[in-house]
Symmetry: C2
Subunit: 376 residues, 2 copies
């Protein structure tokens, strides 16, 4: 029910194009997944997101588990029906949100103990429980529970947390072998912190199971991009070519191209949607802020080279007005623009792989965003 | 450039169907206008609003004058282009918002002195200035400056304020006769407070000018519905049949039918859009609150009899989840539903006029919303 095909392998880089084929349809890779944290892409209807070409979204298990609760979504017929999204849904394990959102948390050998950021209620997530939760949600691609390694983190702690990730991966696989749902695919997750030998070891270990795909976790946690790229190189080296590779939580346009170049097939990130809500837009001229006072009476579109609905119909002056007035429509419009930009960027990346000119596209994007590294 | 045609005059009531014909197109009456206060229907794109059948919107001059400023909109090519709305735009004079929003205001014979609710800056609106502003905005239907009479208000004060409205109406007309823009239509406004003789007098006085249409102001300011209906009867009695009649700021489904029955052709109100943002929905079962705990795992649509996009695609459980999670998409969905409901209600009203069964529709709507008078 789940298959991955590499369609073109670059001769210059580990980069490749391909497709994931599931009972639900196709995800062409490389693919960027917008984040629908609480079972909605903030401010956009599913039809709009689909019309932009997105074939998969990421939903956050942690959030849905706490609200509205897994039973509600299961009773409603699963996450697709619940949120009225007909294409693929990937769910994470919840581990990262426990790490980033919960006030109180304890990492135990058996799992993660934490208090809800909503009401302080206590919860315990184990490797098996997060799989059972994701089975009930009915997502298409499931993630195993892993540990989150902060940055910076000592070698000893990184090693211990990575070993725990491995223990949980093993338990997850043993459970999955006996209890898999053939319509759902499971991805293992590589950790290893920012240490080459730990990364390498984790990558080898995770690659030794028959997951449907392999995710690279623990990056984009505050480390410099150069370090991330090294870790990415080390991780990918150990992976079999015939499985899709998913870099979690990444990233900026430059991050995406750096990762695609290194052989990554899938991404998710809140960046385009979150930036939009903050008035920060990706354009062919780099990042622009809609708050810019010079836009006050500008009849220009956000991006003269953009064919999106927003750039075809609205001026910077109008968008700035809506943003200043905190009008709800602005979140719809700016999110739509940024997701259009990301969809187009992914198309460009694919073309660049096929044309073997990823390096010149990288230079172009580096140049475009060179003053905006702080936005990462 | 502006014409009004009565198409069917009810034999039982002053109610009628008709159409306003302008250089921009047609407004079929009775027509309800959603309110686009700051040049946007909150949370909805213009295409969606248009797809629901709305042929005219109301924008608030007061808000646009303060932000982004009239010069900005004029420079951008006028209000239609600014907000990307291709059908009719009605603008009010700003008088009501000075009354309801401004911290400090003074009614002078020459006009209204007030301080901006945004930054405290001082402004002075005169009858001529509000027409000049609306000319620059480029709206299709303009309103004269009038005074707002609070409820309750003494006879003496109501009389004085009504006379000032008349003085301003006269000045407005004199200006308009010499400076009209043939693509724009001007409506006079009746005041008179809650006193039958003042209403009658105001109605007669306003009807004595050659406005393109006549608005009834100063209602829906807190008075009981019975009193409003009496004032409406008195006002309409004095009006010529061949001009469109616009009841400003009204209202609930029952208010609409009471007014249509009394010969009103146009309305505007924030009720459907504002209620939506507060989670209060109009349905074939009356008003429902999306916060209702019993909807927690309900797979039912908001309204089983509704054909709108929201009721066709989403469960109460999902909508409640989005509302509880304060997700931006909820404002889009609930506003869409309520505006769909109002558009359908207006269709029903038209049919009821044609079938001469407005009275039974009134009883039906009264019954439906009898427990919800507080929402008015």
């Amino acid at each position: 029910m789940f298959r991955f095909e590499v369609e073109y392998q670059s001769k210059k880089f580990p980069a490749r194009t391909g497709k994931i084929i599931t009972h639900r349809g196709i995800i062409e890779t490389p693919h960027f997944m917008p984040v629908a944290t609480q079972a909605t892409i903030k401010a956009l209807s599913p039809e709009i997101v689909q019309s932009l070409g997105y074939q998969a979204l990421l939903c956050n298990t942690y959030h849905l588990y706490l609200r509205p609760g897994i039973e509600v979504i299961e009773k409603l017929g699963g996450i697709h029906k619940f949120m009225s999204w007909k294409r693929h849904i990937v769910t994470d394990s919840g581990g990262f949100q426990v790490y980033s959102l919960s006030q109180f948390r304890q990492i135990k050998e058996e799992g993660l103990l934490f208090k809800s950021h909503l009401d302080g209620s206590e919860h315990f997530l184990t490797p098996l429980k997060v799989l059972k939760i994701q089975k009930k949600l009915g997502s298409d691609l499931l993630m195993v529970l892993d540990t989150c390694i902060p940055y910076p983190c000592s070698y000893e702690e990184s090693k211990a947390l990575t070993e725990l990730t491995h223990l949980w991966a093993k338990k997850s696989w043993e459970y999955w072998e006996k209890n898999r749902n053939p319509k759902q695919a499971l991805f293992g997750i590589i950790q290893g912190g920012m240490y080459k030998d730990l990364r390498k070891k984790s990558s080898k270990f995770i690659a030794s199971f028959e997951w449907d795909g392999i995710a690279i976790g623990g990056l984009s946690v505050g480390e410099p991009p150069e370090l991330r790229n090294i870790m990415l190189d080390v991780s990918v080296e150990e992976l079999p070519p015939h499985k899709p590779r998913y870099l979690m939580g990444v990233g900026t346009p430059l991050d995406l191209i750096e990762a695609v170049l290194r052989g990554i097939d899938m991404f998710d990130c809140v960046l385009p949607t979150r930036n939009a809500r903050r008035g920060s837009l990706f354009t062919s001229q780099g990042l622009i802020s809609i708050k810019n006072a010079t836009f006050k009476d500008s009849s220009e579109p956000l991006d003269p080279e953009c064919e999106c609905y927003v750039c075809q119909n609205y001026s910077k002056a109008y968008l700035r007005h809506l943003f200043q007035a905190k009008e709800l429509l602005i979140y719809f419009l700016l999110t739509l623009h940024n997701l259009f930009y990301y969809a187009k960027l992914i198309k460009k990346l694919k073309e660049a792989i096929l044309k073997e000119n990823l390096d010149s596209l990288r230079e172009e994007i580096k140049e475009l965003y060179k003053k905006d590294n702080s936005e990462n």
